[in-house]
Symmetry: C2
Subunit: 337 residues, 2 copies
């Protein structure tokens, strides 16, 4: 079974653990958001790729959910002693080695997808880990300058980590996305997938950024498999992260229904065949197979159960029409779901 | 009093402590060898500059003589876990922050002399710390390939650290030295110095490399002050380091006399006005005021006493002829020393 998962960082990584547990023999490709990537102290940092890699490679700090287990902060403290900015980013010593190797390979001309494959030879994540693109795409956030009130764009990490998303955002800008192409293998994986899962990651700055790469949305809509999304919103609140600070910026209600409708039905120009929401959360998403299930990934068991529910939704429902048969035929019943 | 010291790493740094103790009010400029500099893991590393900076800034590991006190090796071990070469270089976590800041500034276009000044604002070494040059000069060592026997050039650090100078060297090559210029301030400091001291550093790959930068030897020979060298050889053996592996390569005997003659008398086209050798070491260097003194820097007191002896030799002897008066005059007695 060929499974493709679109993912951001912490939530996506946990969900992927469930997928690997629920489908041990499956061929899993993960397409990861790289819009959070940032260069700090001359080092290229890919927070979401690393979170997925460390999590699946058993190197993650389980409590924090990001960074390396047993981490130390010597270099960070020394950089601060030099007055080297920024000082607010959590750059651990163990983590830093990853960034050094990555930066060196990128400087040598290797594309990020090959760098990621090289780093993965150490971590053996058990999935094919792909950046959404080899081109640089950086999410910037338009905020009001605290002094002048004028709009200014800051890097997503500055907004997210330094300001804890407390600055009012008026827009997210994916710098470079217009010139980006899907990384090698992304379109092929999506096209040939039996199931495409949207992890319960941030719909705006994680999944939304992946979908913003020209060609990915189209490949996803053309997949022969079913597309199943998992709501990151439970009971009207985010489970983790700060999606509640992002969704209103793009005019989306902070609810399972709001996000489901934002993704939209595949039969109606959107993405979803099925949408998993928390048991008890009402959600009406026209044209989409909405399934209430327990969403909280509070243990390996609940996480695996959630992934199994997502995979069930991918194989149990009616197969979508293949694009080449979109003019009709006996299986062209997607519009009725 | 204006003092200029030419220095390499560990020995030079210790000697400088003595100079600062012996001449607390003096204006001290240090011209440091940068031929040992190397780029590893994308980081620009300046071992001698850092050893002097950390030593005078009270951050040095006193036992090792190089690197930071209380050092840890997390990043190095992580790099090794990725299989990232080289693994033989002692890259500590604390030290690494220095290289990160330096590399970032160099990449931003700042010359090494300005980077060194910026780093020194943290360490407050109490001297003006100057690289010999802002241009890259890298000492390579010509050795026989272990398999083919053919000559090949390896970076000095590979020869020194990885092979512990055990490979037979046939030559040292200062790559880039022809295009190098003295860093800003070097020539002016030498010209205006009351005393120029050659630290007991490696005469070939430390002091020799500094002197190889076009313009430095000339400025030193033209200084109004006296030039005093301190022998790194005691009783026919090196006090530290591996100068005994370097001197024969350039045809110099491993003795205080050999090195003294290698530097040569200033009155005879060489560099020295005075030459400090270990008490008991016989050394005949024609035209040079050879002074036997205790050379071992085994305590702060002995180190200060050595520096005082060097400064005494700089102020007590006859003043050399100023270049502009070289045609004669009452003080033109250098030839008779």
């Amino acid at each position: 079974m060929q499974i493709v998962v679109l993912a951001g960082g912490v939530g996506g990584a946990r969900f992927l653990r469930g997928v690997l547990a629920a489908a041990p023999g499956a061929d899993v490709t993960v397409v990861v958001n790289t819009g959070d990537d940032v260069t700090m102290h001359g080092l290229r940092i890919c927070p979401d790729l690393d979170t997925v890699m460390y999590t699946l490679g058993n190197g993650i700090d389980e409590e924090r959910g990001w960074g390396r287990r047993g981490e130390s902060w010597t270099v960070k403290n020394e950089l601060a002693a030099y007055g080297a900015e920024p000082t607010w980013f959590g750059l651990g010593d163990r983590d830093l080695a990853t960034h050094l190797v990555r930066t060196r390979m990128l400087d040598a001309g290797y594309p990020l997808s090959e760098v990621t494959a090289a780093l993965s030879t150490r971590w053996q994540p058990g999935v094919r880990l792909l950046p959404m693109s080899d081109q640089r795409v950086e999410t910037h956030v338009v905020v009001a300058d605290p002094e002048t009130g004028r709009p200014q764009a800051i890097h997503f990490q500055e907004w997210w980590v330094r300001h804890r998303a407390s600055l009012e955002a008026s827009a997210f800008v994916q710098v470079g996305v217009d010139r980006a192409r899907p990384a090698p293998g992304v379109v092929e994986a999506l096209t040939g997938a039996d199931a495409v899962l949207l992890a319960p990651s941030n719909p705006v700055v994680s999944i939304g950024t992946v979908l913003g790469v020209p060609g990915i949305r189209e490949a996803l809509r053309g997949t022969a498999g079913r597309v199943v999304g998992v709501s990151p919103i439970v009971g009207g609140e985010v489970v983790r992260g700060m999606a509640d600070r992002c969704l209103p910026v793009v005019g989306v209600e902070v609810s399972a229904e709001g996000v489901g409708r934002h993704y939209g039905a595949r039969s109606d120009g959107g993405l979803l065949d099925a949408w998993l929401v928390q048991t008890g959360d009402g959600a009406s998403v026209p044209g989409v197979d909405v399934r209430p299930v327990p969403l909280l990934m509070s243990s390996p068991e609940t996480t695996e159960a959630l992934a199994r529910a997502a995979l069930d939704a991918a194989v149990e429902g009616p197969r979508p029409p293949h694009p080449s048969h979109a003019q009709g035929g006996p299986r062209d019943g997607a519009g009725g779901r």
